[in-house]
Every structure is written in structure tokens, then in C-alpha cells.
Subunit: 448 residues, 2 copies
Amino acid sequence: MKKMDVIVVGGSAAGLTAAITCRRHYPKKTVLIIRKEKQVMVPCGIPYIFGTLSSPEENIVPDSVLEKNGIELAVTEVTGIDRTKRTLRTENGEEFAYEKLVLATGSVPMIPPIPGADLENVFVVKKDLPHLQKMLDWLNESSNLVIVGGGFIGAEFADECRKNRDIKITIVEMLPRCLMLSYDEEICAIAEQIEREQGIDIRAPEKVEAFLGNGAVKAVKLANGEELKADMVILGIGCAPNARLAEKAELELGSTEGIQVNRYMQTSDDNIFACGDCAEKVSFFDGKPSELKLASTATREARIAGANLFGMSRVNDGVIGVWSTVLADTAFALAGLSVREALEKGYNVVIGQAEGPNRHPGNMPEAANLMVKLVFERGTRIILGGQVVGAKCAGELINTISAGIHEKMTADEVALFAMGTHPALTASPIAYQLTNAAEMAIKAAESC
Amino acid sequence: MKKMDVIVVGGSAAGLTAAITCRRHYPKKTVLIIRKEKQVMVPCGIPYIFGTLSSPEENIVPDSVLEKNGIELAVTEVTGIDRTKRTLRTENGEEFAYEKLVLATGSVPMIPPIPGADLENVFVVKKDLPHLQKMLDWLNESSNLVIVGGGFIGAEFADECRKNRDIKITIVEMLPRCLMLSYDEEICAIAEQIEREQGIDIRAPEKVEAFLGNGAVKAVKLANGEELKADMVILGIGCAPNARLAEKAELELGSTEGIQVNRYMQTSDDNIFACGDCAEKVSFFDGKPSELKLASTATREARIAGANLFGMSRVNDGVIGVWSTVLADTAFALAGLSVREALEKGYNVVIGQAEGPNRHPGNMPEAANLMVKLVFERGTRIILGGQVVGAKCAGELINTISAGIHEKMTADEVALFAMGTHPALTASPIAYQLTNAAEMAIKAAESC
């Protein structure tokens, strides 16, 4: 029986980062990752296999990172944990002993309870190379693709599948708008307009009543009675924590069915930690359970779990939630709460917005429009969230907003933010969108 | 005599932002900008007139921003302040009365005490359209350009003047490396290598002994005796606060000869505020006088001054200093202290560095290398500074670091930074350079 100081179950964003973090903080400890996939897909890169990249092989996390960090690897599935003996069993009958265990078992895509969801060419998105290759092969033979769910996965798949292909793509979304669980409605409207300009048909709000076909899907029947031709369906309606192994080992689960963890990312067994999609999460804002599942959040939790394995030094203060995406050439990013979500949570809010080119003067090359919308709690003027639309620098700008949220900066502090600016890199310091959006929020608050 | 609630002297980054901020916070107050330039140049855009843009006219701050914000304008030079009567006199004999006055008179380029510095084609860089047009005309007739000073101005002018021109460019820098007042030496070396690849000759460390010529410069004599052919010289050795008007009005000056201000940006006269290059500055880190002069800092001070005019609500906690630039296609950015500067200030430091592509997987389009170097105080592990080299997203990433510096984040807090990531916009969450540089600093600190 192989004995390790640390075993990590799962080799994607959370597992890999937990293993690397452990080796950085405890260089004398032996660390083994056990994962079931031969090759690990870059999780967020999966939609890009279908357009920008040309195959699943181009979207792999290289195992050289394991060697570089002195991490051992076993490719097999863990079937059970003996918490008393501190051992694991695998599908091929092997046993491993651990001192500390990290569960990073990820999530499983949700399958809607719709008749025909089990037809052959109705696909969920799995982080699995052969499955993705099969999807790509089907896609390349398809003329009519229906995507169920207009969130990030649905929107990104639609935007990628259209590239270099003569294919009719329809998104069916239950909510009034695509991406509506993330952005405010007027920003969703911008995203939808871009999607439509790319020839993507959007049905929202609309429900699927059945997938029709015999063996393979032929059409998607909508609640309004319409039948959409389909020779491929992609389901992008979300995912649930993969907590089966933890449940079998009688670890406690949380209210979103994730593995219950404390602020040190420790499960109900002191020697077992969990992180990433499989772990229960709470909101940074109000401590309530959160269903957010993001690779960035997973790695953050893994940096906490990995550092805490042999001594508690890091604390999880909850999920802020920072997303971004690109549709055609327009970036969309969000940190923290949208206005809609802040209102739903019961906050009294004030909003500020600023827009302009991300270069100065605005006729510099590569200049693109950039809009920043910020939401603050009205009384304290503490920042609750930000949305950025436009130029690709949104991907980093949103992280400045995330830092501001984490540090509970007020609108005045954001307005006085010590930003650097440069003609070829950013907006002008006079018109810098982040500081000016904060100023506009103050102006709005004071004119009430 | 025209009576205004607020008069701002100076219409560049600081003056304009102070006026806009005042109108936002006190919409009932009348605001007048008095400036001597017919048209205001985008200050940081000036080097780009000589390459990327094609004329000074393409680098103008449009006066429409004044109308939009309800700000009046007078183009003339203020020659004196009567602080008792609260009036201003201008060169054409007009008088204006103010309730509150903001001095945003900027800086003047330094001229080195070198023989021949007054020759006709030896240019300082003024924020003045006719002067810049004259420089451009000279440049277009020149075959040999010598730039004195290898800081930001010198490096950017060299990089721009080479574009679409057959011209021999030499930078003469007193310090061992170009950009050495900003970046650590190994980063200056990367910048110099890029400059040399563009055909720019660098002489460092080297001094100019004289500018030779009769009327017009013909050559630059170096301290080593060599004579460089020159039909144009650009001086980029820094600038000094333009505090003449304040001095005449017997306002107190600080130890860097800037107008002394308190933390509210108020001068020694309660009714007169100052901001931008003309105002005395102190470091965010130790409160000591700082000679940093940046447009971004100027607008930050202006947002403080403008909001405080009729009630103190904002406090200046000093200059962090955030710069960025681009040489060829490589961005260089810095926030806070370089390692060299931190050591000079007497800090005990620990350093962390991380590098990799700014997309994930690394074969996504537009992927470019990005290196982040962070410096922390060793005991508290509070972040003191960061340097970023590579992809153009450095321009926004450096602002996340600036936020971290302002909020005194520790290495652990930076490592746990809740960043958002996306394949088409950022590095992977596993390899995110900012968090990983913090992890490497912790590892370095713990392995001592």
C-alpha cells in the first residue's frame, strides 16, 4: 500500500492548485494526485475547442506542471475512503494511505427532466477529452444546433460553434434574457444583440418541452408548440457539486449539496479538506449559501486548503464571484453583485456609470469603447459590484474592481483610486471609467 | 470685473479634473478655467504625435468637455493674485474675482546647465501645440536625433520618432540604465534590449558635455570626448513645479519647490487649493517629499481638491506612483516601489515573481508573455510594489496591484486575491501571475 503525506482526489483547477500550493508551503511533504482523466482539459477553455482552437488536444493542462512541482500522479478512480484507517480504495483495487486528504472532485453537468434528454446527440458538457471529441465530430456534421441555456456556457458555445461553420444555431433560454443570472438586463441586451448579429437565434423566455427523435434527436419541441430542427443539442443549464465520494464516506454536505467545509476549507473530518466545485460555498457579502462555480474560485479555495493542510494560516471569507467572457470581440465582465442581485438581497443601492475609449487620445490605435457600471450600498457607499463591457482589458479591469470589493472600498475611495494610465494602454486619467463611475454614483447619491 | 465661485488656473489634467469634480460635487457653483493655451494637449499623448499619431492636432483634449460640464473658459495668462481681495489679474489687464481658487499651473521642463542648450534645434518638451508642431517639422527634416535622458519621455520619444522614419536615434543617459528611476535593473535591461532591436543607440552611463553648433546644433559632445552628429536634440531630463504665480502671491512652497498643500490639497491660504505637477507631494509609503509627477496623480489630487472646495470630504494619503509605457509591443508597468527603491528607503524586503502567457491555454489567439514581480516588506508581508512586463493588459493589471498597495494587502491576501479569469482575456487561474508571484514571495520568505 502506497503511503503519501497528502492525496488530492481530482486533477483539474482545484486539485492541481491545492497540490501545487501544498508543495510550495510544505516542500518536504509527499503529494499524490489521483484523477480519473488521462488528460486534464483546461475547464474554461472547453467552448474554445469548437471554434478558436481546432481540437480538444489544444486545450490540455500539461502534466509537466506536476513534475515541475514534485507532485506524483495516479490515473484511476477513487471508489471509497476509509476515514478511520486514512486509506483510499480505487476502482482497480489499489489502496493508498494518506495523512491529509483533499477532495477536489468537481461538478457534474445537470440534465433537465425533459423527455428525450437521453437521445444520442443531446450532449452535456463534460471535462472529458473523448466526450468532447465526439461532440466536435457531431458538430462538424450538423446543420442545426440547439443550445439549451443562455448562460456563459450556452453563450460561449454559440459564439464558438458559429466560427468557420455554416450552421444554424438557436439558444433556448428560460429567463427573459441570456446571461441574466450574471449581468443587469441592459447589459444582457447588449450581449444578445451581438449574438444576433452573429446569426444566432435566441428564444427567451422559452422552455423546452421535449427532444424529439428516435435514437438521435431530430427536433426540439418548445413550450409554445414550435418545433426547432436539430441534429445536435447542447445542454448548458448548469452543474451540481460532485460530492458522491464524500457522501459515501459520510462527510457532511451543505444546503447546495456541496461538501460542507469550514472557513479553513476543512470538511467534517479534520484530516479531509475540500475545494472547488465539489465544496459548499457561501457569499462574501452575506454569508448565505452560494451556487457559484468558477475555476477562479476553485483555485482560490485550493490556495486556502493547500496552505492549511498542516497548520491553519488562511481563511476563506466567501465568494465574491468574478466572471468574464467575450462575445464576438466584445468583453463582458462582472465582479460581485449586479444591481438586480443587490436589490434581490435587499440592499439599498446607488449606481454610477462611465463610458469612453480605453486609449487616450481616443484616436490611438486599438482604441475600443469601455463601459463601467458600479453599484454601491447607499448609506455606507461601500462597493458591492461592478460590470464592465467593451474592450478586452475588461478582463483585468474587473480584477481591480474585485480588489475594491474585497477591501470594502467606498465610492470616495474608488473615485480617488491611484490608477496608472498610458495613451497606448488605458483610458485617460481625466476620463478613467472606474474612478468616474464612482464619481457619478456619489453625484447620484447627493442629488437625491 | 467678472465674479466666479471658483476659478481654476490651468486647463490640463489637474485643472480640468478639478473643475469637473467641483461641478459634480457642487452643481450650483460657477466655475471658470483660465488657461494660456488655445488648445490643451493630452499630456501623456505628446510622444505619440511623433509616430503613432500624425500631428499635434490629433492629440487635443476637446473643449466640448467644458461645455458638457458647465465650465466657463478664458484663454489668457494670469499674472497676479490679490489674496486679500480674492481677485486675479491677467496679462491683458482683466480682473476676475473668486471665492475659491485652484492652482493647477503644472510644471516646466528642466534645461540642463550645459553649453549650447540654447541652440535653436535643442528642444525641451512643452505642452504647447505650436512648439510641438515646430519639433515635428524639425524631426521630419532630421537624420540624426540625440535624446538626452532615457527615462519615460526619452524612451517614448525614441520609440515613436523611429516609426516610419529613416533616422539615427541615440539616447544619452546619465544613469547606468534607461528607465532606472522607475524599474529594477533587470527590467531596464529588457527595455534597453527592445530599444536596441529597434535600432536605437543607447549611451549609458554617459554625460553630455556640450551641444556644438553655431545657431543650430550640429553635434553633441559626450564626456568621453566622442562627438555624436545631431541635427536635432530632445531634452527629456525631467520637469520642475511651475509655482511662479503662487510664489509671487507669497504662498508657501515645499522642499521640492512645489506649492505646499495640506492633506486636503489646501495651500497656506485657506481659499486657494493646488493640485497636479505644481503642488508639493509626499510619498504614500513614508510621507517624505516626492518628486513624482504623473498625469494620473494630478487627476487624483484634482478629485480631492475639487471635492473639498466647499467642505473637506477627501484626504490625500500621498503618492503611490503608478506608471506604464509601451516600447515596440512590450508593455512595462510599475506601481509603488521597485525593489531598488524599497531597499534605498531601508525596507527589509522579500520578492516573488511569476511569468507565463496572458491567455489560457497558451495557444489562444493574442496570447503574449506576462511577467509580474512583487516586493513585500519581509516582516509584515505588506505589499510595497509591483512591476509588470509583457502583454498590454499590464496597463490594467498594474492597477490591481495599486489597489493592493493602497489597501496594504499582505502576500497571503494577494495570493488569495479573488480574480476573475477567462481563456480569451487573462492567464489561467492556476497560473495567474499576480497570485503566484505572491505565493513565490511567501515561499522565499519561509525558506530563509
